[in-house]
Symmetry: C2
Subunit: 210 residues, 2 copies
Amino acid sequence: MAEFKLHGFFESGNAYKVAMMLEMTGVDWEVIPVRFFQGETREHNWRDKFNELGEVPVLQHKEETLSQSGLILDYLAALTGKFGANSPTEQREIWRWILFDNHKFTGNFAPLRYLCGIAETGETPVTEFLRQRVRGAWSAADKHLANRSFILGQRPSIADLSMTGYLFYNDATGIDRSGEFPNIERWVQRVASLPRWQPPEALLPSVPRT
Amino acid sequence: MAEFKLHGFFESGNAYKVAMMLEMTGVDWEVIPVRFFQGETREHNWRDKFNELGEVPVLQHKEETLSQSGLILDYLAALTGKFGANSPTEQREIWRWILFDNHKFTGNFAPLRYLCGIAETGETPVTEFLRQRVRGAWSAADKHLANRSFILGQRPSIADLSMTGYLFYNDATGIDRSGEFPNIERWVQRVASLPRWQPPEALLPSVPRT
């Protein structure tokens, strides 16, 4: 049995954030597929056992059952000594961006990508609303990355893994990333060039969509 | 000059989360009003000086300029020894809920309340979408609070201050909180009964809306 068990599935960019970290730190891990589209995370049994909030990712490690990708990334950085902070100031900078990611950067992009790429609602007032909010959040990050290789500066951290997670999926969302946000585009390529990086489909299992 | 300077304004529940913490821990603080509705947080000068992400709250303390309410709450808990964690397990539990708050609990409620109570868009597909997501997030929290006084159990923490921040505003959002989420309603009253608690209008300044 692997040391780390990640509960997740291909479409979950939040699970992929953790999968990237597990793979790139070289720890011994395995994935437990979650039948999300059949409602597994909404079942009482799953919630009681893994996460009362009904969300993936969940990471099991020894006696710990952890949820929330940002927290899991912080836990793994402390444990492995990789992609973490070198000072209290860096630690605060990392949390600042992970909170921004949860609140707005992924927070608005993940539902937009879900509606466009998975639920396939077509263009609606909701996709328009979310896209406008995505553009606001991405603009701020694009400016930050204009003169930096990674969020902290020269060195990649869990803030980069958290924020790029959903950017490795190719669903059309009506945003021309390389045209509108060139610094984000280059940063995504930079993360993909890091040792041991692999795309979502290589790390997470497909589960039935219906 | 006060030891802590909080940049914020009445309508920002995220600024209020920090204001509650400052007031309830009894530190020496003052507020710097932000002319949000005149676009002050979008100005280059403000962003360069206080927060490149263009958001309140910002807290200035000695040499530090901090943003993101969740991070500021964690910083103040460590500094004052109040409303923080007593163990690494509690620390993780606090971060888990603060991340959930940023992602979904406040994350969906704040824009719903903005559209309903401030922009006054009336009922639209967007308010309907957000309200559905709020109900999902609130249901999970309501269940958690069914047999607990506060998020951690018997003791209030920054997780409670983060999650209740926006619940002390009275804008109509189409959700009957006491009817649909009675455990949340009781928890909000419990927070309001804590020593030194004060409502948003007592802690944050009104700024012109136009």
